[in-house]
Subunit: 347 residues, 2 copies
């Protein structure tokens, strides 16, 4: 079938060991290849169209040059969370750059860990876990199989590796921005329980309120579960509040959730940002597609993905990542949805 190293060796009139060493550029004391032999080997390989078999190499070396990517939901690329789609971009790009391949797994947040089974697959050198639930069985699985892993957006724990963004600061600047626009009743559509980012974003929200000397009113905080539907329903509930209590601004824990709220606001016949101002979170491509465009807390998502790959590759290749728990800075991308801009701004 396919041409093997043996055939190359025969044609080049040498041994498979020499071919292997020549093609891989191996330079150890026990095996070396002269310039002349190397040329013969290259020529033979080219002539036969030799391509090394990665499976055989994997078996021999115990390394596969494949990294797993575990996304929390099957629908991670569509309507579940644009963050996942974007972070996958960053991860993919960096993997290509590092000459690693990507094996995709989804459903990492499934409580039964069903899909997780396939992950425990000695074909991958390591795994990136995106937004794993705090009690995910995947951690144990990876550990028992000695598969190194790096998480993205996971609670920072001693002895683990995780890339995070400064969620507390994100919650703070989003809320502070709304407060600076004069809003005094700012609601928070928070993320789901069990998701790492929920608590710090909420804490940031509270801190900003305190810093602005506004009351911290827990009746203005609702669990919207990070999805469109949640944002929609929670917003409907809040808009139904009687006038003096009704919030005039929303801080949503997620862009998708913000869009759900925007739909509810429009359906209630109110205008954004005149009646209700709104700030989202993640600042994915999606935030530029809403109407009006959405002010959103920006995380350096691509860099987060790339950094996770770097850290994982470091671990796989036996190096120690400089910082096991990096926290990347966030910023606020101001668009039309919070009223601080002239209307009709683009992206």
């Amino acid at each position: 079938m396919a041409v093997t190293i043996k055939e190359v060796a025969k044609l080049a009139n040498t041994s498979t060991a020499a071919v292997s060493a020549a093609l891989n550029g191996t330079r150890s004391k026990s095996i070396r290849v002269s310039e002349a032999t190397r040329e013969r080997i290259y020529a033979a390989a080219a002539q036969l169209g030799y391509l090394s078999n990665p499976v055989a190499r994997s078996l021999a070396t115990g390394k596969s040059k494949v990294l797993g990517l575990m996304l929390p939901y099957v629908e991670a690329f569509t309507d579940h969370n644009p963050f996942c789609a974007q972070v996958t971009n960053g991860i993919m790009s960096e993997m290509v750059r590092r000459h690693y391949n990507l094996m995709l797994y989804t459903g990492g947040a499934a409580a039964d860990g069903s899909h997780a089974a396939t992950l425990v697959d000695s074909r991958v050198d390591g795994v990136i876990l995106v937004m794993p639930p705090a009690d995910s069985p995947l951690f144990l699985k990876c550990e028992s199989r000695h598969i190194p892993y790096v998480s993205i957006l996971r609670e920072q724990l001693e002895g683990t590796w995780s890339v995070n963004a400064d969620d507390l600061e994100g919650g703070r600047i989003a809320t502070a921005h709304l407060a600076s626009m004069g809003h005094t009743r700012i609601a928070h559509l928070k993320g789901g329980e069990g998701i790492t980012t929920t608590a710090p974003r909420l804490a940031g929200y509270r801190r900003a309120l305190m810093e602005a000397s506004l009351p911290v009113d827990n009746t203005l905080v609702f669990d919207a579960g990070f999805d469109w539907r949640g944002g929609y329903h929670v917003a409907q509930k809040m808009l139904a509040m009687p006038k003096p209590n009704r919030p005039t601004a929303f801080f949503a824990a997620n862009d998708l959730c913000a869009e759900g709220a925007m739909r509810a606001i429009r359906e209630a016949g109110m205008s954004i940002p005149n009646d209700i101002a709104i700030v989202g979170y993640d600042d994915t491509w999606f935030a530029t597609m809403t109407q009006p465009t959405l002010t959103s807390v920006r995380m350096p998502i691509d860099e987060m993905g790339a950094l996770a790959v770097q850290m994982l590759v470091d671990r796989v290749e036996g190096r120690i990542p400089a910082d096991p728990l990096p926290v990347l800075p966030v910023s606020l991308t101001v668009r039309a949805s919070c009223g601080s801009l002239q209307p009709q701004m683009s992206s």
Copy 2:
């Protein structure tokens, strides 16, 4: 390190061949395992926590149970084409169901075929090519390596395997719907050259015009290249036309492109659907998120992905797919953007 078949064999007091056969349920004439031995083997495997090494199995069998998925762009999951994101869902789900793993490759549409190199990787049993350019080098690469492949949305050619949707009919019903609403100047924002779906959708558009006895005016057809920016710019150009020539309805070859056009329409101070009606294509989750919600031609995207997996698995496992070139039916999902619905409808 990890426990191997040998250790299981030793503990169960039998041979590795028996262990392999028992664990795989192999039933050939040359190897069989009695009930008693099977039990011992199961017990030993369980006790040791044995997990078979897929790399070793791959090497021995020549099959990897891994399928490649080649997407046309690196940004396939974000702002490039929601179709890709959605079809990936369908593919992933079906692969899980079939116990195959998914290796992800992107950039399949890159002219230099750069990323394609890694695809020629004997680790995968087969590949799914999503929207490959007509002249993609990938076809030859796969063929020279004897890697079976199935395309999604590729020109239908004798001797190839491809899952398609009825693009001509899609173009027709989209345009016919606009014509039935009384529009006489319907513009088409067509897809890029070299993409398979561009021509049939355009042909469908023309056929519908003819069926409605409307003139086929080529000045109303523009290449919007399937992306947001293209839709935006083309729409701007069309809206700048003097009144009697200016189209009153757009048929965009893609939802993203339609959203670009919608932005241009809003910025021009016109209303959708009152001033301009618009119909998109793909009917991905994204079409429900626009404002107003977007009427769009629906393809059974998940089914297309699942069908491609089925066909590929059939080929990989030596069966012959029933129909090598299935064409799936399309339909029109009517929403608010074309004026045939009361305003304020949801999804």
